[in-house]
């Protein structure tokens, strides 16, 4: 086949497309829609994934964490007793090496307000370090972020609303009435509070609050900052921001005595040989009491025995003390990452050091780490590789004639997000399968179109073959025709997909209402506004992929025509 004949065959394919306009337009439209939907869905998924990952790094975890290996191994249980000291040294070394580092002590508890309670994940943080490193601190919607030394908590905005703490943003009429009924407010205060809200239905300020029912009021968002501060102060004055944290302090401690049945049933089988030898040395059985008593040992031996018990999961080595801490809500966090907005509270780390707090005595559960050059919109940098961070730490410690304790290690953010990454892969997979199905349905349409085109032109094919057209040329002509259909449809699809994507990428779609109804958890770490992302590989790749698939789809109908005897083709009616 020379170039001239190839060109002639291509011209034939073009002419066939032009001759069957209706079929061409319909098939192109099907491909266009499927390609546009694919581009849109792919952009949506890519946008959610990118934003979620960015939010996890910048709003939740940092790029990496310094933590004890034991905590990491049991991270799903949140073992608040797995703490470490001297974090200030590590922070300083990381600072010298170009990293931000923020200490945290993470624990769970129940928060009681005057109206209800909610389980909360508390992050005790260094407010200064946290502000430097974590982007959520810039999203304190109402009130302010916590400060060092104050018994205060900044709560996720949705939980604060639920517990009726802070400034109500959408109070029902009875809730606003209850606030206004407080004896601690003057008439002028009451008028001021009323003026800060508008009725959701009539949008008229000063709606008759006594009507009650389902009437809701909306906090005016265009109030001067001073008014927000005054409003917060009034909520404070009526005690709305006074809350109690009920939690448990988990302490690791070598038991003075262990009951015989626990020793034999729970502890001993879980110990390794040398651990059994060590504990056998430190404890002695009192047969009369049926108790193993601690007989004494060196500090290193005691520490090793305690670690052995913890590793073995022996419950007797962890003691739980009930704690109640009175704090004031000072701010409501409403960040682009829903994980910060629901059932999360931030407290100053320094107030939890003694018996009034969590008896931390300088301990933390983790040190969050982030490259100083990275901003809130960035993903991770090569410097944030755990090995690189660890090497920087070890170099800094060596300069101080110290070494990194063996129980500590640096872990990457992804190591903590196995559940999320699994969800992401599943969601992305199922959405892509849906897109592929749509894609293939459209291309089966091409196969059908080609089948009909070939049936219609059976006589014509017979004639061309009688005049010397080879089977190869036959395949080439019809596959080119199908490929052209694919290119045309995909090009239009790319255009349509990109046009739909422009507002999706720029503005996104606001699903915050739906998210609130779902309790803030949709799997992806995106709060409210779902945005797409440009994925050039999909946009560029769509056209050649569509052309190839379309051509291949034409293969089987052509094979049927090529197998037919020329005389049968000529007689075909």
């Amino acid at each position: 086949m020379n170039f001239a004949s190839l060109f002639e065959l291509k011209r034939m394919a073009f002419r066939s497309l032009a001759r069957h306009k209706a079929k061409t337009i319909l098939t192109c439209a099907a491909i266009m829609v499927s390609v546009a939907v694919y581009i849109f869905m792919d952009s949506w998924i890519a946008g959610m994934e990118r934003e979620s990952r960015r939010n996890i790094i910048n709003y939740e975890l940092g790029a990496a964490k310094l933590q004890t290996k034991m905590y990491f191994a049991k991270k799903d249980e949140m073992p608040a007793y797995e703490t470490f000291q001297d974090w200030e040294t590590y922070r300083d070394i990381l600072d010298e090496s170009g990293y931000h580092a923020a200490p945290r002590y993470v624990f769970s508890g129940t928060l009681y307000s005057a109206t209800g309670s909610a389980p909360i994940l508390f992050n005790a943080v260094d407010p200064t370090a946290e502000k430097r490193m974590m982007a959520y601190t810039g999203y304190v919607e109402l009130g302010r972020f916590i400060r060092e030394g104050e018994f205060a908590v900044a709560l996720g905005a949705m939980t604060a609303e639920k517990l009726k703490a802070g400034i109500p943003t959408r109070p029902a009429a009875p809730e606003l009435e209850e606030i206004l009924a407080s004896e601690l407010l003057s008439a002028a205060d009451g008028d001021f509070i009323r003026s800060c809200y508008e009725a959701s239905e009539t949008k008229a300020a000063g709606e008759n609050l006594a009507e009650g029912g389902e009437l809701r009021f909306i906090l005016k968002r265009n109030l001067p900052t001073g008014d927000f501060d005054r409003l917060w102060g009034l909520m404070d004055a009526i005690g709305r921001n006074d809350v109690r944290i009920s939690t448990v302090i988990d302490l690791k401690a070598l038991p003075d005595s262990i009951r015989w049945d626990k020793w034999v049933g729970e502890l001993w089988p879980e110990l390794t040989g040398w651990e059994q030898a060590l504990l056998g040395k430190l404890y002695e059985l009192d047969e009369e009491e049926q108790l193993y008593f601690f007989t004494g040992g060196g500090e290193d031996e005691k520490a090793a025995a305690l670690e052995a018990m913890i590793r073995a999961g022996f419950s007797g080595a962890i003691r739980h003390t009930n704690q109640v801490i009175d704090v004031k809500v000072v701010g409501m966090v409403n960040s682009p990452d829903p994980a910060n907005n629901f059932n999360v509270g931030y407290l100053p780390l320094d107030i939890l050091q003694d018996e009034a707090g969590m008896m931390l005595e300088g301990q933390v559960t983790e040190l969050l780490i982030r490259d100083k050059k990275m901003g809130a919109a960035d993903m991770t940098s090569p410097l944030e590789n755990p090995k690189t961070i660890r090497a920087a730490l070890e170099r800094g410690l060596a300069r101080r004639s110290q070494t990194l304790p063996s129980e500590l290690d640096v872990f990457f953010w992804m190591d903590y997000m196995e559940d999320y990454l699994g969800y992401e892969a599943m969601e992305s997979g199922s959405s892509r399968i849906f897109s592929y199905l749509l894609f293939f349905l459209a291309f089966f349409g091409i196969s059908n179109t080609m089948l009909l085109a070939i049936l219609e032109r059976t006589k014509e094919i017979g004639m061309m073959r009688a005049l010397g057209m080879t089977t190869g040329q036959l395949y080439f002509t019809f596959m080119i025709e199908a490929g052209l259909l694919g290119i045309l449809g995909a090009a239009l699809g790319v255009l349509l997909g990109c046009l739909i994507n422009i507002p999706m990428v720029k503005y996104g779609i606001d699903f915050s209402g739906m998210l609130e109804e779902l309790g803030g958890n949709i799997g992806y770490r995106v709060a409210g506004n779902f945005r797409g992302a440009w994925k050039l590989s999909t946009i560029i790749g769509s056209i050649p992929v569509a052309a190839v698939i379309s051509s291949l789809m034409a293969f089987f109908p052509i094979r049927g025509a090529a197998k037919k005897e020329i005389t049968s083709s000529l007689r075909f009616e």
Partner: protein
């Protein structure tokens, strides 16, 4: 001179009175031992009922419970809404079985402190069976009449760090050593819970509380009446009760 004699007499009399009072008041440790003798058991099996009153609503939960020592317990709820919900504490580890999901869920230690089925009690409260004397230093804070009964008031402070409630205050009946009332304080000193005896029964040589009221003071307008029926104390309980197989059956 007359004045001096009067003062000496007064001193002697007050010393005599103090001595007589001391002779009548048992030592704090002795009181704790009496309480432990009444309340600490080897094993217990009973049918329980919790009447929960929470913010003007009332819920009734019934269950069957088996407890052995302080490390093993098994509870199975029998009221229609929670039928077949089960809790197992074995060797200090807690497991929960929900008939809805038909799954056994291990619960980490601190959840022992969480509310049991929405009541004012935690699971720990229902299975706690450790002697007070071995864990607390006690001091007599005075004497009061509580619910019409003369009582000794005892202040307890934990001997070791890590005690669940490091400070407690007890009201002990002067005549029969019933524990009439106690208050539990968190480490920060905030009063977290209070318990009041409603009725106790005699089992052999001991008096055992079978009906009581618990208030979780962090919950607003909340109290739980805890009733034990058909109590069997210190009888062997089969090992098969405290198994995950029993939890899932």
């Amino acid at each position: 001179m007359q004045k001096k004699i009067t003062v000496i007499w007064a001193l002697l009399l007050s010393l005599f009175g103090w001595g007589a009072l001391c002779a009548q008041t048992p030592r704090a440790e002795e009181l704790l031992r009496r309480v432990d003798q009444n309340e600490v058991y080897q094993t217990i099996e009973y049918e329980g009922e919790m009447i929960i009153e929470y913010q003007s609503r009332r819920y009734v939960k019934t269950f069957h419970a088996w407890v052995r020592g302080n490390s093993d317990s098994f509870m199975e709820f029998t009221n229609p809404e929670d039928r077949f919900t089960r809790y197992l504490k074995r060797s200090g580890r807690l497991f929960f079985y929900s008939p809805d999901t038909e799954e056994v869920i291990p619960i980490s230690g601190h959840l022992l402190k969480e509310s049991l089925m929405g009541s004012d009690l935690s699971l720990e409260d229902t299975v706690n069976n450790e002697s007070l004397e071995s864990r607390f230093n006690a001091a007599i804070a005075g004497e009061e009449v509580f619910n019409g009964r003369p009582a000794y008031v005892l202040d307890l402070n934990a001997k070791n760090r890590g005690e669940s409630y490091p400070r407690q205050r007890l009201w002990i009946d002067r005549e029969n050593y019933d524990l009439l009332h106690y208050e539990l304080f968190a480490l920060s000193g905030v009063k977290a819970k209070e318990w009041t005896l409603i009725r106790s029964e005699v089992f052999g040589a001991r008096r055992f509380p079978v009906e009581s009221e618990m208030r979780d003071l962090l919950r607003r307008d909340s109290r739980t009446i805890f009733i034990m029926r058909n109590v069997i104390l210190d009888q062997p309980i089969a090992d098969s009760i405290f198994t995950t197989r029993n939890l899932e059956r």
